[in-house]
């Protein structure tokens, strides 16, 4: 067990898989002697560069992912460090429309074991915030993980590398270089499994990425007022663990979904669809969505702050929802 930041944990997972499996290689921009953008590949060049397994690529994201798809079909397990999630929009044909479809089209005879790493989210970088997660979630077969703790980052990255088909790992820039925590390299976390981060009895807050942290802070505030919020961290958004979210909300009686992604697509919309897609065709609890408006992420610090749901927004939504519930006994 070592204490690591999320960024260190991801690099450690990549290094451990590269050490264990010679078919794993890394390709991306500035991942060589530079060490990766925001240290995303720190130490990997020194460890694996001489073996030709850390490949510095020119600006050509579609081909970077396309070559990875082809190499994966041929027997490699490539990891593409795509730098920022925005750039995923350049790669949808090879990654999502085709790479993620091969296993279906061949009935599993040919698979495409490929990981794409991409940084996203509002944060110290002041740019490149868009995660494009809705876009990613709109193709069958493409898996998407979004860790929020060093342990999850480590374990989900290993699961992603071992997965038989394409997985995008979204790395939130406000979390990557946060606090260190213990990481157990033996702990396996499967893709598609959400986690309860805080037990609660009065309502459920489901979130991903940075919003998990804010939900936990809001829960701490609410606790002072005697409201116990359960906080669910999606961890993977595709496959989406609708079951755990539903079970929690059924127990607590109310659900708030907090997302940094745009309304109408992404985890929040998929969750809503999943919640309604039952034999009953409706939820037994009220649902409240907290998301940015449907505009690009603005630049000015004050506008950016207003854009993303805050701790106060979450706490406020929780209070409002609870008063609504008290007001309306029947649906």
């Amino acid at each position: 067990m070592t204490r690591m930041t999320m960024s260190e944990a991801i690099v450690a997972a990549v290094a451990d898989e590269m050490a264990a499996d010679p078919s794993v290689y890394l390709i991306g921009q500035d991942i060589g002697v530079f060490g990766g953008p925001m240290q995303s590949a720190k130490g990997l060049w020194e460890a694996f560069g001489a073996q030709g397994r850390v490949i510095d690529a020119p600006i050509s994201e579609a081909a970077m992912v396309g070559t990875a798809v082809g190499a994966a079909m041929a027997g490699s397990r490539p990891i593409v460090d795509l730098m920022f999630a925005e750039f995923l929009a350049l790669t949808m044909t090879p990654l999502a429309l085709e790479g993620a479809s091969v296993a279906f089209r061949t009935r599993g005879q040919v698979t495409v074991p490929l990981v794409v790493r991409a940084k996203c989210g509002v944060g110290p970088h002041r740019g490149h915030a868009e995660s494009c997660v809705g876009m990613l979630m709109s193709f069958p077969g493409l898996k998407v993980a979004m860790p929020t703790t060093p342990q999850d980052a480590y374990s989900l990255m290993r699961s992603a590398i071992r997965d038989a088909n394409p997985v995008v790992v979204l790395e939130h820039m406000s979390l990557l270089h946060g606090a260190r925590a213990e990481v157990d390299p033996e702990l396996v976390i499967p893709l598609g499994a959400a986690a309860v981060r805080r037990d609660g009895t009065d309502l459920t807050v489901v979130a991903s990425g940075l919003m998990v942290q804010r939900a936990l802070r809001a829960a701490a505030e609410l606790a002072k007022e005697g409201v116990e919020a359960e906080v669910v961290d999606l961890r993977s958004v595709a496959p989406l663990d609708v079951g755990l979210a539903r079970a929690s909300a059924e127990r607590t009686g109310a659900l708030i979904v907090v997302e940094e992604s745009w309304p109408g697509s992404g985890p929040a919309a998929a969750l809503c669809a999943g919640l309604l897609d039952t034999p009953l065709g409706r939820t037994g609890f009220p649902v409240r969505l907290l998301q940015p408006p449907a505009t690009p992420v603005p630049f000015a610090a004050s506008l950016e702050t207003a854009f993303v749901p805050s701790v106060a927004d979450i706490a406020h939504a929780a209070r409002t929802l609870r008063s609504t519930m008290r007001g309306t006994v029947t649906a």
Binding site: A62, A63, A74, S76, A103, R107, G108
Partner: protein, 321 residues
Amino acid sequence: MTTELALWQAMVEARAFDQAMCRHNGHWHEARGEEAVFVGAYADLGPDDVVAPHFRGTCAVALQRGTSPETLAAGVFGTRGSDSGGHWRGDICPTPGPRSIGMFSGSLGTSVSYATGAALHLARTSPGAVAVCSFGDGTANSGIVAESLNLAAMLALPIVYVCQDNQYATSLPSAVALAGERVSDRARALGIVATDIDGNDVLAVREAVGQAVARSRAGAGPSFVHALTYRMGGHYMNDPETYRTPEEVAAWAERDPIARLQQLLVGHGVLDPAEAEAHSAATHARLEAIVAEAKERDDEEITPTVSAFAEDVRPELRSAS
């Protein structure tokens, strides 16, 4: 190395399959006239090499690599006997596998990056193995082709790119769409060794690709072969062909790649004209029968259950509905 007689036979078989499909399948893209390019380019590869043919001709390459015409025809009609069990279009992706790349959606261009990635895999794991990758003159303009060639050159990958220039992308002449004099100059600009050859001469194709393959096997990196040929049929069945003249088509009929090699082999005494005709006729009849039989199975072979394709691969992604 494939004998010249075998090249001729492969071209005859390719055309027989192609022409039978023209008769039986309204969705077919005829490849008549271009056989020298795809037969010549893929003739001398081994089982460890990666093939990524252009969609026009891809069934012929699969035939050459040993897939049975019955399986291929099932793929084109989308019936159970195909390599994808009817899940995907066998006309543009006949035998997907770790060493065989097809179109995984209807988008052209990406397969060039897949072949380039396969070459990267080969370079890392199987020194001496190569990838051969064809694409049309139209496809040559897509951005991912430029990106892939640059990566291949930069990483000195073992891959041979073949531009199967049949002078049209549907209705748009390559003379218009491919700015600049020769498409091969795009490769030269990247430091890739490039040649321009007569794509209706199967021996010239085999020679040029063969040399390029040898260079790649020796670790000298990628090559580019620009093979000029002509699409004798329409882009697809029922193409009105308003964009070209019958005279132009007729002039290229004179340069039929099969007739050309046949004449040469007859001249060399390798082939007897009557035998040649008999072999041709028999091959056409054989494939006509196979394709006609495959067509009969259309629509009736696959149990129409959702689970057949949804559950096979990824249970966790099934719709709850």
